[in-house]
């Protein structure tokens, strides 16, 4: 046993105590941190304000004056703020609290002035007759610096406001724009035209536009989950992301440590250290030690990244979403998934002579490991479907899928969890058995890299 631990320790130290690994380990949290800090700063950077003119051919005769009102900078700013508020309302409560913790009022003031500072200044000119339309369109092609250049040309249909005859649908408008026009300006124009035309239609029918707007507005409603502990605000985004985070935690640590295991096995084989090792320990002890050592590496990653998830949940005061038991299951499923996949990786490492040859054999293993993240959407949408249930019982992907299901808002019944663990352990033992055979034979084989058939023959050899 002490020999296995010595091999495990060497494996762990040789992997972890390298600059590359430490940088890699810390790089991701660092990048996430940078993203959290930098993103708001980047978003707040003002894009240059747009100045320019648009030309309108108003065949209905009712729209252009209202459009001018809508394109007034102040109205513009209000409209953009309304969009901001809508987005805000859809954000999780905790995230909203975080972004506007400082002083809500001050931020509103600030954002208003910010928005005002960058609203486009648009001059609206009128095209008197259809004859002028082509001339106006040609002005879209002029260079931006040209005084006569236009950003867009709008043509309001004659039936846009008033029905030409009963039962026919109302008309709309055409929008011609110059190349490379800011997308935001286009949606601004659309919004302004919509309001202008709808207001005109209402006015023609002697309806009060302001009143109707007030009547049709409804605040964004957040669903409230009813649990035994009382009503609780349900957070859809976090509900989707948390299971994904748990699954990715396992996936990243398993794949990283598994790859390391394969590489170190190939290194031992190609540098011929392995024969010296085999004179001291049996192949089984060697494999066990190596798997144990790399499991330590995986656990370290799990600890660092898992800790990060816990800390970030803490800062959003969402920690209550994680059941402490879930962390225990995370550990169990990690051990199962890791041992199963890493045993196969060790076998591949022992079978080939160099990393290049490993690629072909590695593809199925990686495919299996990546499958759950491809199936994340269907599984997390309906964690209790037959599809999800079956996948959560089939090794080697069962640990990943079961983790997804358990972290979801509708966790599976406990008997399924334990069944999955039992099947997972059986699969793990089978993988160790198969891998052990390939490992033992492969280590001393040099020359032509084996294909899948050769590996199967090795397994069937006594």
């Amino acid at each position: 046993m002490s020999k296995i631990l010595q091999i495990a320790w060497r494996e762990f130290a040789a992997t972890v105590l390298t600059k590359g690994f430490l940088i890699g380990l810390l790089l991701m949290p660092f990048m996430i941190g940078m993203a959290v800090v930098l993103m708001p700063m980047l978003i707040n950077v003002k894009s240059p304000a747009i100045h320019g003119g648009i030309a309108v051919l108003d065949r209905s005769g009712e729209v252009v004056a209202r459009l001018r009102e809508q394109l007034d900078p102040k109205v513009f700013a209000q409209r953009r703020r309304a969009i901001d508020e809508k987005i805000n309302a859809a954000m999780p409560a905790a995230a909203r609290a975080l972004t506007s913790k400082a002083s809500a009022d001050a931020r509103v003031e600030q954002s208003l002035s910010q928005v005002l500072g960058q609203v486009p200044e648009i001059e609206v000119s009128l095209i008197e007759a259809d004859a002028g339309l082509n001339a106006a369109k040609s002005r879209l092609l002029l260079a931006k610096s040209d005084q006569a250049a236009l950003l867009a040309v709008l043509v309001v249909h004659s039936d846009a406001v008033q029905q030409p005859e009963h039962g026919k649908e109302l008309g709309t408008y055409d929008l011609f724009v110059s190349e490379k026009l800011d997308d935001r300006l286009i949606s601004d124009l659309r919004e302004a035209m919509k309001t202008a035309i709808v207001d005109a239609r209402l006015a023609v029918r002697q309806l009060d536009a302001g009143e109707i707007r007030a009547l049709t507005r409804l605040a964004y409603v957040r669903p409230q989950m009813v649990t035994k502990d009382g009503a609780q605000s349900k957070n859809e985004i976090a509900n989707k992301l948390l299971p994904m985070a748990f699954m990715m935690l396992i996936l990243i640590s398993v794949m990283t440590a598994g790859q390391q295991l394969m590489t170190s096995t190939i290194e031992e084989k190609s540098s011929r250290v392995v024969e010296v090792l085999l004179a001291a320990v049996s192949p089984t002890e060697l494999m066990a030690g190596k798997i144990l050592g790399q499991m330590g590496v995986g656990l370290l990653m799990l600890l660092v990244y898992g800790g990060l998830v816990v800390i970030s949940l803490l800062s959003f005061s969402l920690l209550g979403m994680i059941d402490p038991w879930l962390l225990m299951y995370l550990l169990i499923f990690f051990v199962i998934a890791f041992t199963t996949l890493s045993a196969l990786m060790a076998a591949i490492g022992a079978a080939v002579n160099e990393l290049r040859e490993a690629q072909a054999l590695l593809t199925p293993v990686i495919l299996v490991a990546v499958l759950p993240s491809i199936l994340w959407m269907p599984i997390s949408n309906d964690p209790d479907s037959i599809f999800a249930t079956v996948l959560s019982l089939v090794p080697p992907i069962s640990p990943f899928v079961m983790m997804l299901r358990m972290a979801s808002s509708t966790p599976p019944p406990m008997w399924q969890v334990w069944l999955s663990i039992a099947i997972g352990i059986a699969g793990m033992l089978a993988a160790i058995w198969v891998a052990g055979k390939v490992f033992r034979i492969g280590l001393l084989m040099h020359g032509k890299p084996p294909n899948l058939m050769t590996l199967i023959r090795w397994v069937r050899m006594s």
């Binding site: 010595q6 390298t18 090792l277």
Partner: protein, 310 residues
Amino acid sequence: MNHAIVLTSINKTFGTKQAVRDLDLQVPRGALYGVIGPNGAGKSTTLRMNLSILFPDRGRIEVLGADSALKAKDRIGYLPEERGVYRKMPVAAFLQHMAILKGVRRDQSKARVVDWLGRVGLPEVGRKKCEELSKGMQQKIQFIAAVIHDPELLILDEPFSGLDPVNMRLVRDLILDQHRRGTTVLFSTHVMHQAEQLCEHIVMLHDGRKVLDDTLDTIRARYAPRALRMEPLAADTDVAGALSGLSCVATLERTDDYYRINLNEGARLDEAIQAVAARIAPSRLELLRPSLEDIFIDIVSHGAQQEATT
């Protein structure tokens, strides 16, 4: 019990190639045995089976009193033919790792590493990474890894390959050191004169079969000299003419430095020497002892003849 290794009817086949056939071998404790034979004769396979790195298809292996080397691993030292080190690992850490894997207690391992590095004249390399060492230095490190746990049995597969003459002498002295300590040493080589210089006992393998298994002295006695080495005093002597008609001379070969006079079967050595000296004044005249190489070629060609006749 007084044998370190007992092999009984060992057979090993790789695919269609039979690497070892019906091999019996007994190595007494404390002996220094050399296994010789050309490449592919089955030397490495035999050594690996002694270590339970490979397992025989048929036959029995007894190592240090245990029925498998697995039970005696900590008492065996092994230097494989293709040897490696962890390239990125510091030398001292590598040796400590190997020592612990060989059953040395962790608290003793460090002192042993320091001691051994001093013994081979590399006291200052402990902190260096293995890949920073020259090839000769790496070989010494690998030798230390094989003996750091004071094994009772030391198995060396081609210990001299790739060494320069200075390091070759160093490794030879280290092997003899171990032998004097009482360690049983079994080593293989395909360079026969190395075995001749070092061994007391020779085992010769050819094509998976044991063709010779005896002490060096017995072998020398059995393969009695059947040739003379002669250098004439005067360089322009007509050697062939002078020796023609001598009944004891079978053939005459000329090499760069001397003449090799092969004697007939049944010719007496003392008479032959006198007869040659009477015909030509020699600057040098001596018995030519057959080297292991000669013996080996003799055995192999005889074997080939026998196979051809049967």
